[in-house]
């Protein structure tokens, strides 16, 4: 934890009934980093974002955004962040521009600032020509882009994205990845939750593996993959799929040569790291 951290979480705990959704999570995200929170459904990813953005209470621990404690000064903490929730939460009966305008008003922006920023951001997400249309007329991918634009309206220093590409087609997903990278390049800290391995691997500077409310591993994607070895092969045997990992290609090829089964050598990926370090698959 340092003064340059945009997000600091210390021993955060939250239970719903008897279920421990977050069980002592601690992490720090430096300003400007793109941080991914990877885990299966129910791991506690959304709960973390909901707590940090003021939607959910927490039982114990501490969290700060840009040095502002979220429990002591929630309004100041909220001013620093934008949030894109997993589900669409736009006003379908209002136009794109009206949705942006209401958001700007909630964050105390002036009329001139709201108009200029709406025009600028709708152009960034390629929706400028639809500004006056009702949100109900947009496709799922367009709505997701509009939600990202709306979250950026007040120039937040931290952007929370909760499963930003869930349910979207592959081409739209890649388009949104490009947008997220662009946002980070402009200096915004991005905190992303996902259960898409390739999303975390492609986008993130660092990844945390979250499982059953606990962080099981936290590092760069490359370092996490290196922990299991850089190379892998899968063999389908009577006991099911068995994957073996190797530190270098030569060792892997030697193992394949010694086996009678048909196997394909491949590079290890973040999913291998997740499987090995948590003992579970990301679903």
């Amino acid at each position: 934890m340092s003064a340059g951290d945009a997000i600091v979480i210390e021993d955060l705990r939250k239970a719903y009934g008897g279920v421990q959704a977050l069980d002592g999570v601690s992490l720090a995200v430096p300003a400007g980093e793109l941080f991914a929170y990877l885990g299966p459904n129910g791991a506690g990813k959304s709960t973390t974002i909901r707590i940090l953005t003021g939607l959910t209470r927490f039982d114990s621990g501490r969290a700060a955004l840009g040095g502002v404690d979220i429990a002591r000064d929630p309004l100041a903490a909220k001013r620093q962040c934008g949030v894109v929730m997993q589900h669409v939460n736009l006003d379908g009966d209002l136009s794109l521009a009206e949705n942006m305008d209401i958001h700007g008003r909630l964050f105390g922006m002036s009329a001139a600032e709201r108009a200029a920023r709406t025009e600028e951001l709708l152009a960034v997400v390629d929706l400028a020509d639809r500004a006056k249309r009702l949100v109900n007329t947009l496709s799922g991918g367009m709505k997701r882009r509009l939600m990202i634009a709306r979250a950026l309206m007040h120039r937040p220093s931290i952007l929370f994205l909760d499963e930003p590409t869930v349910g979207l087609d592959a081409d739209i997903r890649r388009r949104i990845w490009g947008l997220i990278k662009q946002i980070q390049k402009q200096g915004t800290t991005v905190f992303l939750t996902t259960h898409y391995i390739e999303e975390a691997e492609f986008l993130a500077d660092r990844v945390a593996f979250l499982d059953s409310g606990k962080i099981r591993a936290l590092d760069t994607p490359q370092a996490l993959i290196a922990r299991v070895g850089g190379w892998a092969f899968d063999r389908l045997g009577p006991e099911g799929m068995v994957t073996r990992y190797f530190a270098d290609r030569e060792a892997a090829q030697a193992a394949i040569a010694a086996s009678e089964d048909a196997m394909t050598l491949r590079r290890a990926n973040l999913e291998d790291a997740f499987l090995t370090l948590t003992g579970k698959a990301v679903r």
Binding site: L55, V88, D93, R105
Partner: protein
């Protein structure tokens, strides 16, 4: 506070503008039916508090419509909360619970005033005009505030849209019929009068009717509505805070 309240209010007004025609018809149908059905049934001979039944009914309908329109925002808040998740946008914004509650309450009061305007117009179409002085409008506004605050509170407390229907069936609808809207309470037994005076709508109907008939105001009704308004607002504030899971 003002920026958040303004944003919440403006959002509701923009949505109302989009649904204006539907809302207008919705606001007009029930009072029109009551005027036709009860006005015809009771005829012009029967006198209530020295007035024709339609003259007696109109202030009651105004009290009832003020209540139903102001309370109607509960459904809008529910839909925004449970189906469209818009409430999260307000929760994640740097605005206080009071700003959210006041924005919604003001939108409920605006709807209520729209409903009153429609009933006055329907009354004029039936040849019934009533006095609408400052005490009349004060009673209307207090009544709207009480029920809009209650709507915000209950919309935050319930956990599903189905609960909202139960509240309407067991609280709002009985109050609409028993709160001195359709008949004078004087003929009822003392215990029933006492019971019905516990309802805010009874006080609203009596305060509105008094000014509509040109009688001096009975301040007790205004005091009760003001006290219930404060209680409703405090409950709304607590409920908005509790809505975080």
């Amino acid at each position: 506070m003002l920026q958040g309240m303004g944003a919440v209010y403006l959002r509701e007004m923009r949505l109302s503008r989009r649904r204006f025609k539907r809302a207008l018809v919705g606001m007009a149908v029930s009072p029109l039916l009551y005027m036709v059905a009860f006005g015809t049934a009771m005829g012009s001979e029967a006198r209530f508090e020295g007035h024709t039944y339609l003259e007696f009914l109109l202030p009651g309908l105004i009290a009832m419509t003020t209540m139903t329109q102001a309370y109607g925002i509960a459904i809008e808040i529910n839909i925004a909360r449970f189906y469209f998740h818009i409430f999260e946008e307000f929760q994640a914004a740097p605005i206080s619970g009071a700003a959210f509650a006041m924005g919604e309450i003001l939108s409920g009061m605006t709807r209520a005033l729209g409903g009153v305007a429609i009933i006055l117009a329907i009354g004029m179409a039936f040849g019934v005009t009533i006095h609408t002085g400052p005490w009349f409008w004060l009673a209307v506004l207090l009544n709207a505030f009480v029920f809009a605050a209650l709507a915000v509170a209950l919309a935050m407390l319930i956990s599903s849209h189905g609960d909202q229907s139960l509240l309407n069936a067991f609280v709002i609808t009985p109050m609409a019929f028993l709160g001195g809207t359709f008949f004078p309470l004087d003929g009822l037994p003392g215990w029933a009068q006492g019971l019905l005076h516990a309802l805010p709508l009874t006080h609203a109907a009596q305060a509105i009717r008094a000014d509509a008939f040109g009688r001096p105001p009975e301040l007790i009704h205004y005091a009760v509505l003001a006290a219930l308004g404060v209680a409703g607002f405090v409950l709304a504030l607590k409920s908005v805070d509790r809505a975080r899971d």
